[in-house]
């Protein structure tokens, strides 16, 4: 409808945080430049003015301590949202994420609740080069104890962020830097997009495409193009990457008999490998072709737009990849 309220992705995030701050006095936010400045991507814009310096906290450049602040506050009863400006910086804080946040509950025999949300911004396409463009979700999804979401639309952004904040386990919310400005319908009222439930973005019988983050949009463009030729793609966005809604994916694979997984991360060892491995495990007899993977080649993210445009999958490469799974010609990296 034309009178549906629209918000940009970044403001959908902001609204989810704002409503959580309103609803629950235990919620607070902390991160670099998120307070007075509102975050380098504007994600926390206006929140300190509204909720005060106690609840929207500027921190030093200390990613380990930022995550630790979240872990310690969560395990003692608060519901923190802590921000890592760029996803690449999670490497600086990896111990607190992987060895502390994710494991505390288990190591303590269940005697802990860690309602911690880590927010960060991933993805390339901004000529931000090798240390500010990575898609490292595969590293997080391999770690028991974390839940990982990566919304593709403003609607999912608000609902998944609300779900992360309410979740009693550590979650990582990955925003995509190139999606911050995209507009989409976002209800003003509170709602949740449940964790672990995929979204069937588009139905089709010929081939299943699994994609997340910005790739959902590239896949949709490719799917529209193919639809003009009568090829109907079923596009599935898991939205939550851990726990992964493999049932929805496998059901679709059994229907279409052909699957392509698309992601922005490097192909080798990316989450697409797990998706492919599980599909062939659970739908082996239904597959008419190997599960294809379209992803970044095995190199760091290059700076020059002239190179980066060949690095990140786009609609044209995805289309070609889909064709090769449909017609069983080799799939490119």
């Amino acid at each position: 409808m034309s009178d549906e309220r629209k918000l940009p992705y970044v403001m959908a995030f902001n609204e989810a945080v704002s409503q959580a701050l309103e609803d629950d006095p235990n919620v607070f936010c902390a991160g670099e430049d998120i307070g007075a400045f509102g975050g380098v991507f504007g994600t926390f814009g206006g929140l300190q003015a509204k909720f005060g310096v106690e609840r929207v906290v500027d921190t030093p450049i200390s990613e380990q301590a930022i995550i630790g602040l979240g872990v310690g506050a969560a395990v003692t009863g608060l519901r923190p949202i802590v921000d890592l400006m760029f996803m690449d910086f999670m490497c600086v804080a990896m111990d607190q994420i992987v060895n502390q946040a994710a494991k505390l509950k288990y190591m303590f025999g269940g005697e802990a609740r860690i309602p911690l949300t880590i927010t960060t911004a991933g993805g390339g396409g901004l000529s931000a080069a090798a240390q500010h463009s990575q898609s490292l979700e595969a590293l997080l999804c391999h770690i028991p104890g974390l839940k990982v979401v990566h919304p593709a639309t403003p609607y999912d952004m608000k609902g998944l962020m609300a779900a992360c904040i309410r979740e009693d386990n550590p979650t990582v919310m990955i925003k995509h830097k190139r999606l911050l400005g995209i507009q989409g319908p976002v209800p003003e009222e509170r709602y949740i997009v449940p964790l672990g439930v995929a979204n069937v973005v588009r139905s089709g019988n010929d081939v299943t495409i699994v994609a997340w983050g910005r790739m959902v949009h590239e896949v949709t463009a490719a799917a529209e193009k193919l639809a003009g030729e009568g090829i109907q793609c079923e596009v599935i966005d898991p939205r939550t990457l851990q726990p992964l809604d493999i049932d929805t994916i496998v059901a679709s694979a059994k229907k279409t008999n052909r699957v392509v997984v698309v992601h922005e991360a490097v192909r080798f060892g990316g989450l697409g490998a797990e998706v492919a491995a599980q599909i062939q495990e659970h739908a082996f007899d239904y597959l008419d072709a190997p599960v294809g993977r379209i992803a970044a080649p095995f190199s760091p993210v290059p700076f020059s737009p002239a190179l980066e445009q060949h690095y990140i999958p786009d609609a044209a490469r995805i289309e070609a990849g889909i064709r090769s799974v449909l017609f069983r010609t080799p799939v490119g990296a």
């Binding site: 310690g72 003692t76 607190q96 509950k105 190591m107 303590f108 309410r166 386990n169």
Partner: protein
């Protein structure tokens, strides 16, 4: 000593409990009854006891790989501790954590930690929560001299000072990180020299003197509770056993002389002598205390030995909270 006799007895009791627990654990480890690594706290009892003696039950502490002493000092239950060390389902962590992750959230003990330095940022989080709630709780981060060389400690110390949090950084300077002496890994002698770089006061105390530690802790904790921000306490101390396990394994990274000299300053016996000299206690009283607590240990060992092992279906339990927020 301006510390009352009752408090002296309390501190003494905490120390003896640690000593007995640790020596029992050491014996069990030697008898191959404890799986995994075991880092004993014997020799350093005055530090955990003097500091935890200044805390309330709802104050928080974070600990290290050498964590039993901290949990005992915070009031940990022998039975559940011993059961955890044996990997039993009745242990503090249902056998999932063991020595290196022993914890009791109800006592504000946020866990031993296998990653050197990783406890301090978590303590900062607890201190933040305490300030946020405004109920006057404080947090203490325990860590070793070696841990002050790792980035996580530095970030935690700086953030605590920047946010003016109610926290005490408690450094157990035992002059070694594993098998390497402090002077090979830093160019300073006193950890307390690091405090000024964060903008917090720092004080050196004799870590073999529980009263001295306690007095320093009372001051730092009171300051934190009153909104005065972080402080650092460096307690000069020594571990009587090896880095892990009981024996020195014939490893000559410390001289026999050095070990013997420190053992002469045993924190428990020193306190007992002083209390007797000051006519605050009698030898008989101490004998009774040791006997009582020795009995507690025997009970705990029996409890642990009689406890069931966790069953295989428990592997996948407790990874996530069942009740997510949704």
């Amino acid at each position: 000593m301006s510390i009352t006799p009752a408090v002296q007895f309390d501190l003494h009791r905490r120390m003896v409990r640690i000593r007995l627990f640790e020596e029992a654990a050491g014996r069990l480890a030697e008898a191959a009854k404890l799986p995994g690594f075991l880092h004993l706290y014997v020799g350093e009892e005055a530090v955990a006891s003097g500091i935890c003696g200044a805390l309330n039950d709802d104050d928080h502490i974070t600990s290290t790989h050498r964590g039993h002493g901290h949990l005992v000092a915070k009031g940990g239950d022998f039975n559940r501790m011993m059961a955890e060390l044996m990997g039993k389902s009745t242990g503090y962590c249902k056998g999932k954590g063991g020595s290196m992750h022993i914890s009791d959230l109800s006592l504000g003990m946020l866990g031993a930690n296998g990653i050197v330095g990783a406890g301090s940022p978590i303590a900062v989080g607890a201190a933040f929560a305490n300030k946020y709630r405004g109920r006057g709780q404080v947090a203490v981060a325990f860590f070793g001299d070696g841990a002050t060389n790792i980035g996580a400690f530095h970030e935690a110390a700086n953030m605590a000072c920047a946010l003016h949090l109610p926290i005490v950084f408690a450094c157990e300077n035992n002059e070694y990180g594993e098998f390497t002496p402090r002077d090979k890994t830093m160019a300073i002698t006193d950890i307390v020299d690091r405090a000024a770089g964060y903008g917090m006061p720092g004080v050196i105390v004799d870590g073999m003197d529980v009263i001295a530690v306690h007095e320093a802790a009372l001051e730092a904790v009171a300051k934190a509770r009153a909104g005065g921000g972080p402080s650092l306490i460096e307690a000069k101390t020594y571990r009587f056993y090896n880095h892990h396990g009981v024996q020195n394994l014939g490893l000559k990274y410390r001289s026999d002389d050095e070990v013997a000299q420190w053992k002469e300053r045993d924190p428990i016996f020193t306190l007992e002598d002083r209390m007797i000299e000051n006519k605050v206690a009698t030898r008989q009283q101490f004998d009774d205390i040791w006997a009582e607590l020795r009995n507690d240990i025997e009970v705990a060992i029996k409890f642990a030995e009689d406890s069931p092992l966790p069953t295989s279906d428990q592997v996948l339990v407790d990874v996530y909270s069942a009740n997510g927020g949704n």
